[in-house]
Amino acid sequence: MNMPNLNDYLAGAMLANGFVWMWSLILGYFSGFFTNISPILLADASYVIYLLGGITSSYLVCKRAASRHLIVGIKLSIITWIFSLIIMLSLTAEPSIGTAFALLACFVAGDIAGAYLALKSRLKAERVQTETSENT
């Protein structure tokens, strides 16, 4: 049975954290521009980007799984969260527990959505393949 290995999980975790840290860098570089925008809006945008990171990484990792997509997605979210905690504790001056839990929630939700999308795309590909073989 085809299942993602440790390298795949680590790559997925780095990818999801890449989204988070790219967004943090963008916020830092363009701080002059972002001061005009409401902090609530920025916080909401941050959650959307964390979710997007989770969805992208989970979709790509779950594409390598033949079954148990949800388990793969949840495993990936935990690994991603541990990575993000390590990065946050080592690089942030004042790490907050609220941000850590927000990241966990976004990663779990994003990874479940990514697993769902990966399974859906697999089933769709199989359906197209079946229809093509029936037509020929």
């Binding site: 079954s67 148990r68 997509h69 949800l70 388990i71 769902y116 399974l119 089933l123 199989e126 359906r127």
Partner: protein, 121 residues
Amino acid sequence: MELTPEEEEEMIRKIARKIHKYGMEVATILFLESIKPLTYIGSQMGRFFISPFLPALGEGIGRGGEKFFMVFEKRENVEKLLAMLEELAKEEPQPEQPEKTENEPDAPPPQKKGWRRLLPF
């Protein structure tokens, strides 16, 4: 209560068709693949906590619930359901044809897919 393999097969097919009707194959496969190792514990918990209350809803529901727990306490039946759902997911979902009335215009309404068919708008 004893169930023959044919009855088990029939029940699994009926459930698979119901899930397919609502376009929930992907969510069901995702969920069942994950909880497959816990099927025996789940069915035993269902028998203990849910079965005693089912006959209160009707004789048929009580018996149906008991059958349901008996069928899905076996992991191979969950695997059969998964295989059946994967087969059904390969088929294009058949939209239900609504009955046409005299006042209705000729243009067909846009067809909704999956769970969106249940939405009133």
